[in-house]
């Protein structure tokens, strides 16, 4: 899959790859109303990663359904609507519209965006996670993915709350809150001062988060964070992800996602693995 916010609405990538090859396209976070996003600069490169504070700029769910979804449906790849709201009601309304559109395969609730006020609230407090997951569970019959944040003291508690609330799967993880400063101007390199760190720099954090969540809940898990190559993806599968999302790598090479798929196939061939799923959750302990 492609990670939300790094693959536009999918269509931006049509010149570069066959979207039909992807397991799913997770589109840019959708809200009830269109959003303008944050002031610029919104991105800053850091060692082996990048900070972003895009601020969930998006066309809104209605424009998405009318302008983007028809073409995405033609391609046939499952579309996962990444959704966002300021209130539980808004989240539910977006989820309902996504389901009504008939073209969305699943909903991924972004309860963990570090770049908007309220963005992270639902992922920080297990009670809030439970509440929003329950509400979304009632609002939609679509498969419900809850996207977790690493910016918490104990991600296992949040994962359990999402599971108790009725999530079908968990996406682990969103960006890591970070900051960078231009020492010449002494200004933060993002207009919002802090932003979300992504890219290879966060991969060990993502893997750790996945590992902890794996031990806490039985749900299917989607591994996300710094995956650039098939080998990176394998790390996540071995730790327990049944699927992975490719994010920042799409910016570096728009063909990353399909190259990773090719790499996984090659790995399976070379190592006599009949089904890549047989690698899931096969972490070996020394001794």
């Amino acid at each position: 899959m492609t990670a939300s916010g790094t693959f536009g609405y999918g269509l931006e990538f049509e010149p570069y790859l066959d979207l039909g090859q992807l397991g799913a396209i997770v589109v840019k976070g959708l809200s009830l109303q269109p959003r303008l996003g944050n002031p610029t600069p919104r991105i800053a490169e850091t060692p082996a990663g990048m900070l972003n504070s895009i601020g969930l700029q998006n066309v809104g769910i209605e424009a998405f359904i009318s302008e983007k979804l028809p073409r995405l449906r033609e391609i046939g790849t499952p579309v996962i609507a990444n959704i966002f709201g300021e209130t539980i009601e808004e989240y539910c309304a977006v989820a309902r519209r996504a389901e009504e559109s008939g073209g969305v395969a699943a909903v991924e609730a972004n309860i963990s965006c570090p770049n908007v006020s309220k963005g992270l609230d639902f992922a920080l407090d297990p009670k809030a996670t439970l509440e929003i997951t329950r509400a979304l569970r009632k609002a939609t019959t679509l498969p419900l993915l809850i996207k977790l944040s690493p910016n918490v003291t104990d991600i296992r508690v949040i994962a359990r709350a999402a599971a108790d609330g009725g999530a079908d799967a968990l996406s682990v993880m969103n960006t890591v809150l970070g900051m960078a400063v231009d020492v010449r101007t002494r200004k933060p390199r993002l207009a919002t001062a802090t932003g979300g760190l992504s890219g290879p720099a966060v991969r060990p954090i993502a893997l750790r988060a996945l590992w902890q969540v794996r031990q806490a809940v039985k749900l299917p898990l989607i591994g996300i964070g710094g995956i650039m190559t098939a080998e990176d993806a394998l790390e996540f599968l071995i730790v327990g992800a049944t699927a992975i999302q490719v994010g920042t790598a799409n910016f570096v090479d728009p063909q990353s996602s399909v190259k990773i798929l090719d790499g996984l196939r090659a790995y399976c061939r070379e190592n006599d693995v009949a089904d890549v799923n047989s690698l899931v959750d096969t972490l070996q302990f020394p001794g």
């Binding site: 536009g8 269109p34 610029t40 919104r42 972003n52 890219g199």
Partner: protein, 301 residues
Amino acid sequence: MNGSVLYNLSLAGDNFLMGIFAPELARNSRAGQFVMLRVSESLDPLLRRPFSFYSLGAGPARKKQPAGNPPGTNPSAAPGIARGTRTRSPDSVEFIYRVVGQGTRIMAHMEVGRPVDILGPLGKPFPLPTEPSEIFLIAGGIGIAPLLVLMEEFQQREPNLFRKCKTTLFFGGRRAADIVGAEDFQVMEIPVRIATEDGSLGEKGVVTDLLLDGESSGKEKLPRLIYTCGPHAMMAAVARLCRQWKAPGYASLECLMGCGFGACLGCVVGRRTPPGRTARAAPSQEPGHDGLGHLRLRPRV
């Protein structure tokens, strides 16, 4: 797409001229477009870097062919590195770049023959002039890049119209070392007027000062058309002049870019851009955003 370095010449100041063998790019790109270069195979720096084309292909036939390396070339800038000589061909593209940070520093050390990972062409091409005009090219420093390829493309595609236009390059920089590439305009017989803030080359002051006395001098008055690329403050001043003259103009804008093709939404500028659209999709009238396209500087009516 992969290209390979043909030459990588150190110019005045921190500026460099890189020729890359990339036949497809040379044939399929247009003036004003840009590429995203991957300067390193490692994860740091991770993101690609955007660069405008300085030239595409061999360029139009010239009365005077520039012989060898441009003046100001400093062959001793990077001892021990084979830097090659400037040899444009139908298969080559050129970039002119200024070393400002990690990525451009890596570029400055690239040797001849090194493969370069290129994504492009990206962005919108410059619209060419459509009627005999008085063309003002207004460049600040490394902002010269898209203007040469524009004039070469114009001359190649519309030689008659090119001849009927009265074109001048107004070129500004902080100091003499910021003024690179002017000779490529001179061989096209485009007059160059230079302003530097420290007065070390041309007139002392900012480039827009050169334009203040800008009454049309030709016999019949041609409609004025402006193309500009440079620092935001300069382009904002140019935009003001465009409004004053009621002259249309196009600006090639720079901003921080994460991807170059509309996926990251890092390059939009200001909150004026409608939601969901990158600056490419929605050029506004305000300079100071975009990186992907060309802002139309509309005259105020």
